[in-house]
Symmetry: C2
Subunit: 242 residues, 2 copies
């Protein structure tokens, strides 16, 4: 099966200025991984038309689908809809179904709320679980809000359609540093070149110095590579496996 890949565009002055620690990309990375989708790029860009449009255009051309986070509220700095429209050379139009929902919801201050009925021309709506408002989609781009609770609920409701075959993973914790184990990793990759082998040093942890992750979509392959690497590594260097 062909691997599905994905890019993510985070619209976030508040992240670039250090006011907020983005959690949406971390949530998306974990959830997409679980359903077998490879997140290939996360770009955090300012709440400005041109940077958002350029990044959405870049990701939409390169990846099977794109998720955006943020910039979809009713205030002056919410420009994601217009930027996605620009990325595809579309106009912004009022979506009749969204308009109806917003009229029902914003009983007062309707003038400002109506901004949220505007979507790129040709956009479709996806049901978002038990949330009131649907997720707007244009071509392969899914436009999600930045507020973590809503982002997470909306993404979770979309995961079913993104799902493909998952990755299988094994983990080895070593007491030796990266310099010491590098040659064993290299030898393992020579025998299992298709293995995704990650090496994550940790400082100041009394239990281990490096966490190694072995991954593949072929469960047999990752198990054979795991057994091989365990054989290669001096026994006293292996603290724990998962």
């Amino acid at each position: 099966m062909q691997e599905r890949d994905c890019g993510m565009v985070v619209v976030g002055n508040e992240i670039l200025s250090g006011k907020v620690h983005d959690s949406n990309s971390y949530f998306a990375a974990r959830e997409l991984r679980k359903v077998g989708v490879a997140l290939k790029r996360i770009a955090v860009v300012p709440d400005e038309l041109e940077p958002v449009a350029e990044e959405v255009n870049y990701c939409a051309r390169r990846f099977e689908f794109v998720i955006t986070s943020g910039g979809v509220g009713p205030t002056h700095d919410d420009i994601t809809m217009e930027a996605v429209a620009r990325a595809f050379g579309r106009r912004l139009v009022v979506h009749p179904e969204l308009e109806r929902m917003i009229r029902d919801y914003f009983t007062e201050r309707l003038a400002t709320g109506m901004k949220m009925a505007e979507v790129p021309e040709g956009a479709t709506l996806n049901a978002a679980g038990d949330l009131r408002f649907p997720t707007v989609q244009l071509e392969n781009v899914y436009i999600l809000p930045g507020i973590p609770q809503i982002f997470e609920a909306k993404l979770s409701a979309l995961l079913g359609r993104f799902a493909t075959d998952p990755y299988y993973i094994r983990t080895i914790y070593t007491s030796a540093g990266e310099g010491t184990i590098a040659e064993y990793l290299k030898a393992c990759l020579e025998t299992y070149p298709a293995l995704l082998l990650g090496s994550y040093p940790r400082l100041g942890d009394p239990e281990y110095r490096v966490k190694l992750t072995l991954e593949s979509k072929d469960r047999e392959y990752v198990e054979r590579a795991f057994d091989h690497l365990i054989q290669l590594l001096p026994r006293d260097m292996v603290v724990r496996v998962e």
Copy 2:
């Protein structure tokens, strides 16, 4: 004074696959902001030559300087030095001073450690506070490791050279939602068009619904805009100010 801007390239399969929640970009965003540097872009890309080289090249042309995080250890997947070299059309060469330091440090396993003496041709070394190894710089790109403790120490040692005039910030917490306050924000921006006005809704907090940040490098300007917005907002909507 001209505003200094910066881009950040995070080299991180472990972040894209959701194994690690990146903290380096959050640290960098806060620290750069404090010294008056505008972080304009954060891109998380895989540990692969072409995506890293392309993103470094993009940022180096657009921003005054660039910080990279990750991919500089001795293992097979550490490709940042080669990617930065490629971004500038340079070769990888052994840096004599780094070579000497690594010979002193890696008494055993020298063969694998020597990979860390390779830098893009023309690179220079910056002292990194009380850390043993210096920070490699090529043109306007500073190459930092991904391990948070070392990343933070190395970036902190560089901040002095990045420093320019800082931003001044005031904060207003409101009990009303974004839809309700949007018109007051718009009116404030009409009078103070150069104000950086951020609006951050928060769900489920008993204290407030929206945090507003008012920023400028002109302290007088931000204070006048703050007073103006406080006048505009109905008094019972303002929970707290900072």
